[in-house]
């Protein structure tokens, strides 16, 4: 049985659901490019919208994105 907070998470997820979404594998394939574009100051939401949307929905992939971004930003000149 869902708790109230999980119903709220579920409603947010359902509201954000699109017919076409990429999976974790496709997101991972493009994650390095996504992060390089982000560091270069590009509008990643426009450049790679499906990756951006996936990162909004998938906690595992978002965690990987955030860690990779922090590592690269720290190393940036």
């Amino acid at each position: 049985m869902p708790s109230q907070s999980s119903v709220q998470s579920m409603m947010r997820a359902i509201a954000a659901t699109r017919q076409i979404e990429i999976g974790c594998d496709e997101c991972f394939e493009q994650l390095d490019r996504f992060v390089d574009l982000k560091i270069a100051g590009e509008n990643v939401e426009e450049a790679l919208p499906l990756v951006w949307q996936h990162l909004e929905r998938c906690n595992d992939c978002r965690e990987e994105f955030e860690l990779l971004l922090s590592m690269l930003e720290a190393a940036a000149p």
Binding site: M1, Q8, D36, C58, L67, M71, L72, A74
Partner: protein, 206 residues
Amino acid sequence: MSERSNLEWCEILAPPPDNAAITDLRIILVRGLRYGLTERDVTEADLEDFVQDALLKILRELASFRGEARFTTWAQKVAVRVALSELRRKRWRDVSLQDLLTRQADSDFTPAVLTDPTPNPEQKAVQGIMMDKIQYIIAEELTERQRQAMMAVMQGGMPLEEVAVRMGTNRNALYKLLHDARKRLQKRMMGEGLSPDEILAMFDEA
């Protein structure tokens, strides 16, 4: 350490890989992960293990590097996946899916809104009816696997990767299973004139 182009990295790491290039790459990966994982409970030995596994994976999968990003970004992406997969595995190793789902079923089910002494009784009743309705829709629309996965991820907070292992699948397939579940619920709710945003607002008002 010299800056190498993507092509140079690929050539120098192709079999047989150049030891100096591997040393350089190891330094980059250790430095990156050490910084990125500062807040976590990670030892130097863990870092060495992550980097060693990542290096092997990088060499094995070198041909899959498409050159659309910097090579070092791609390599660090591989290292991030290796490290976080291992950290997730350790964090959740003693939790079975059954335990997680049973714990949830036994715990709270009474929604906070129903036990909160302050809300207005009429609103409370409407929220209770909506919870029943949502439960009914979930039971009707989703398969047992979809329900289990959704509860483990959304209520139990277990990473997809760990739920996938326990369900005998992989993370990508599990994401697709959950995407299909969300689409089914969305369609059914739309058919019944239920808006997720309105339901959210209804609970946020509590």
